[in-house]
């Protein structure tokens, strides 16, 4: 039973950490766009290497 004296402060510390983490993630916009990043990850790998740059893009 005495272990509770240790376990409860640990659980409280974890909770404080979680709240801090949640606050950080909301502030940094992790919840702003829930669809985009999920789609984006499917689209990034298989891009062929750029070749033969058209003259339009040279600026």
């Amino acid at each position: 039973m005495e272990s509770l004296y240790l376990l409860i402060p640990i659980s409280l510390a974890l909770l404080v950490l979680l709240v801090w983490f949640l606050n950080w993630s909301i502030k940094s916009g992790q919840f702003d766009d829930l669809d985009g990043p999920g789609e984006a990850i499917l689209m990034d790998d298989d891009t062929p290497a750029p070749h033969q740059l058209s003259k339009h893009i040279e600026k």
């Binding site: 709240v19 909301i26 984006a40």
Partner: protein, 810 residues
């Protein structure tokens, strides 16, 4: 079909008219394009190694303008680099002198579009970072102003077939974002609190053998976690309850917040007292769970509401940001491109065909035709002569016109309509929802019962009075009651969104059931606002139908007039090979087209009378030196699913009204055509507003559907309103729901779903009531067992949620 595929543009997939095809070699394969613009875009995309786009896109884009073949930033975009506009649309970012801007992307249709825009922007020299928000269709770009410019970014997006306009983040939008983040944080704190307090309550749940000092320790730890949930997460609930109490004198209604706040406060005080005295239930687990559930339901509601677009933002979208000004008119015709905000009264502007008039004014040179359908609902282009008024927001169709500005910005007609919209939203009758009404009765009943039972106990056994008061309030479980409506609404909204109806304001489902009158707009709502070739009449003997159509289509090829496009579509549909014309096509401005002996145009110009037929979109006539060859009759096309929808509506005894800005004869013809008995034509936006107001004063519950800017006040005033998604953004700003499907059919389905939703809400409320009727007497007798109360509460909440879930299958 092989022929059809071969004649499609590789980039934009539009059909290529014979003789227009442009070919280019891309990655070793010869591709066909409809125009040099498409070819340039495809070359750009291939050149950057982004050709996977063509296999990923699910829908193709529109035909782009020819100037895109060049690498020059077009004149109309250059003013964005002017300090006055640049300062409005960019913010400085970081120490390196970089600028940050938010652009709103248009024509984004699928994930491939987002990907292409992002990749293309990233490859521009000077661009530091690109963030695209898929849902809001906004992109945040950080760039070094020395290496690239705002105009360059806009141009590059246009070059790959999309459109972008700089977006001025308004205060209301910032506030909405802050509100959303705050609520999410409150919800998160409540959820974490609930989790942890339940953990500490576990020994009491399982009846574990626990010594009093540890029980006290767990109790006070729970208390410590409940305080932030009460103060921070439930703060707005207490504020709402307080406001509701303050306004009780005027409204005579108590909001949902009052019983919730009361139950929370009493439970918390009772729990604290019990904790100090060391006897009885502490309620902290119920409090935190309850707060978490309520906030979760509110968060879902908030998300749906915030999808709505503000009126100011919509107005910006309707008008161009730049215009062509003639500085020394009439001395010289030199044109400078300037920002519309920098224009003053009396300035002379040039508006090219296909462009939007940026300000109100008087036409001073070159008669033209303007599409005023956004403002008036009139589908046909309106002929404008020198001295006529032209209005901001209308489309110039025919000739490059010159105009003198008479009103800019807030004093234009379109801004006037926007302010009428804001007025209408203020005047909109507030619908008292079923749940609020029930809740109000319930609160009164509950408070009465709680205090009466407490008073009785005070008489018999004063020590029990306080416990009974609290247990009645807690056991009555406003939980099921407060979940009954939001869960059903959320499920129903999810179902109709899949059908193609996006609900912006929550009362739509409830309002559809109550509607007694349906007010429809004609152009763009009842009809598609797009002419279709109906029939060919007065055919000269010796000519086949196909010959006449082919000849007309050959004359019209390359024209952008709605009737020309319709003729070309008809010719394409019949797979006609267009004859080659002997002479060049000459555009007789405002009259018609001629080539060699052939003339195609209005009856007036050709010098013969046409039999006026009401309901028509218009007629054009093909003639040569010998006289008339054929007449083409055009008709507006009715929207898909119209007949079925009207049948459903009439079956529910809803009176249908047709109110349009189009001329009375056409409106009457259409009303008869689709079977609507009550109609009114030639309505200004104010007339439409009055029409609704009259109906509402007669005690009718009005449901309106519209699409144009001229419908915006009507949509805002009606009890429930639905804007057609392809219509004007300003109309959508005033509407409660947006029809994203092309067909009207989802509306019929939404009606039956609304009935079902209503039934389910009633079932849920009934269930909550039955539960309360059982639980309250037990609590009144002072027999409440915390165990039973807990199970009962969870079960009743679960039953309510599962019941609502049935709506999703609709």
């Amino acid at each position: 079909m092989t022929k059809g595929i071969a004649l499609r543009c590789y980039h934009c997939s539009s059909e290529i008219f014979p003789g227009d095809a442009v070919e280019a070699d891309l990655g070793g394969i010869t591709r066909t394009f409809c125009c040099p613009g498409c070819m340039a875009i495809a070359q750009t995309i291939h050149g950057e190694g982004l050709e996977v786009f063509y296999s990923r896109r699910s829908q193709s884009s529109d035909k782009p303008a020819a100037y895109l073949t060049l690498n020059e930033i077009p004149e109309k975009l250059k003013p964005y680099d002017d300090p006055s506009l640049l300062g409005r649309f960019t913010r400085s970012y970081g120490d390196a002198g970089d600028l940050e801007t938010t652009l709103r992307l248009e024509k984004i249709r699928c994930a491939a579009c987002v990907w292409l825009c992002e990749q293309h922007l990233r490859r521009i020299a000077g661009v530091k970072d690109v963030q695209i928000h898929y849902v809001t269709q906004k992109v945040i770009v950080r760039f070094a102003p020395g290496k690239t410019s705002l105009a360059r970014l806009l141009f590059e997006i246009e070059r790959i077939g999309y459109e972008a306009w700089p977006f001025e983040p308004s205060i209301s939008l910032d506030r909405a974002k802050k509100e959303r983040k705050q609520l999410l944080m409150r919800l998160g704190v409540a959820m974490l609190g609930m989790m942890q307090v339940m953990m500490y309550a576990w020994p009491t749940y399982v009846g574990a053998d626990i010594t009093p000092e540890f029980k006290l320790l767990l109790g006070w730890t729970s208390w410590g976690l409940t305080v932030p949930v009460m103060v921070y997460s439930a703060g707005p609930i207490f504020q709402g309850a307080w406001r509701s109490l303050q306004s009780f004198r005027q409204s005579h209604m108590l909001g949902m917040d009052v019983p919730i706040a009361l139950a929370l406060a009493l439970a918390f005080i009772a729990g604290t007292i019990n904790l100090i005295t060391g006897a009885g239930q502490s309620y902290f687990d119920s409090i935190t769970m309850f707060v978490a559930f309520i906030l979760a339901a509110r968060y879902v509601e908030l998300l749906a509401r915030q999808d709505a677009q503000g009126g100011a933002e919509a107005l910006v979208k309707q008008l161009p940001a730049t215009c062509e000004r003639l500085r020394d008119y009439p001395a010289s015709q030199v044109i400078e491109v300037v920002a519309v905000v920098n224009c003053n009264l009396g300035d002379v502007l040039r508006v090219s065909p296909g462009e939007v008039v940026p300000a109100d004014g008087i036409l001073i040179e070159n008669a033209s035709a303007l599409d005023e359908s956004l403002l008036t609902g009139e589908a046909r282009p309106v002929e404008k002569n020198i001295g006529d008024r032209v209005y901001a927001g209308t489309h110039n169709i025919l000739n490059p016109l010159l105009m003198r500005i008479e009103a800019v910005g807030q004093s234009t007609r379109i801004a006037g309509i926007a302010s009428l919209l804001d007025q209408a939203l203020l005047a909109k009758p507030v619908m008292v929802s079923l749940a609020e009404k029930w809740a109000a009765y319930f609160v009164a009943f509950l408070l009465l019962i709680a205090f009466i039972s407490s008073a009785i106990w005070l008489y018999f056994d004063p020590s029990q009075a306080w416990t009974v008061l609290v247990s009645v309030l807690v056991a009555s479980c406003p939980c099921a009651l407060s979940l009954a409506v939001p869960t059903a609404m959320a499920a129903a909204q999810g179902a109709v969104t899949k059908l193609g109806l996006l609900i912006v304001r929550g009362h739509v489902m409830e309002g559809l059931v109550k509607a007694t009158d349906l007010v429809l707009d004609k152009t763009g709502t009842l009809t598609m606002g797009q002419p279709e070739l109906q029939e060919i009449i007065n055919l000269r003997t010796g000519y086949r139908r196909e010959d006449a159509l082919g000849l007309a289509a050959a004359l019209e090829s390359g024209q952008r007039h709605p009737l020309a496009l319709s003729l070309l579509r008809a010719a394409q549909a019949e797979n006609l090979v267009l004859p080659t014309l002997a002479g060049p096509v000459i555009n007789q401005l405002g009259k018609g087209l001629s080539s060699g002996p052939y003339r195609l145009g209005s009856a007036l110009w050709q010098g013969f009378s046409q039999d006026a037929q009401v309901g028509q979109y218009g007629q054009v006539h093909l003639a040569d030196d010998l006289g008339l060859i054929a007449s083409f009759v055009f008709l507006d096309t009715p929207r898909l699913g119209l007949a079925l929808f009207l049948k459903t509506v009439k079956a529910r005894n809803i009176a249908v009204h047709l109110v349009s800005g189009d001329d009375p004869a056409t409106v009457a013809w259409w009303a008869n055509h689709v079977g609507i008995t009550s109609y009114q034509g030639a309505c200004t936006p104010e007339d439409k507003y009055d029409y609704i107001e009259r109906l509402q004063k007669a005690g009718r519950f009005v449901w309106a559907i519209g699409d144009g800017v001229n419908d915006a006040p009507l949509l805002a005033r009606a009890d429930i309103s639905i804007a057609v998604g392809t219509g004007a953004p300003l109309a959508a700003a005033g509407a409660d729901a947006i029809l994203t499907a092309v067909s009207l059919e989802p509306l019929g389905k939404a009606l039956s779903l609304a009935d079902k939703t209503q039934a389910i809400i009633k079932e849920n409320l009934l269930w909550a009531l039955i539960y309360n009727l059982l639980a309250i007497p037990i609590a009144m007798l002072g027999l409440v067992n915390p165990w039973l109360a807990g199970i009962g509460m969870s079960l009743s909440s679960l039953a309510v949620t599962l019941n609502a879930w049935r709506l999703r299958k609709a």
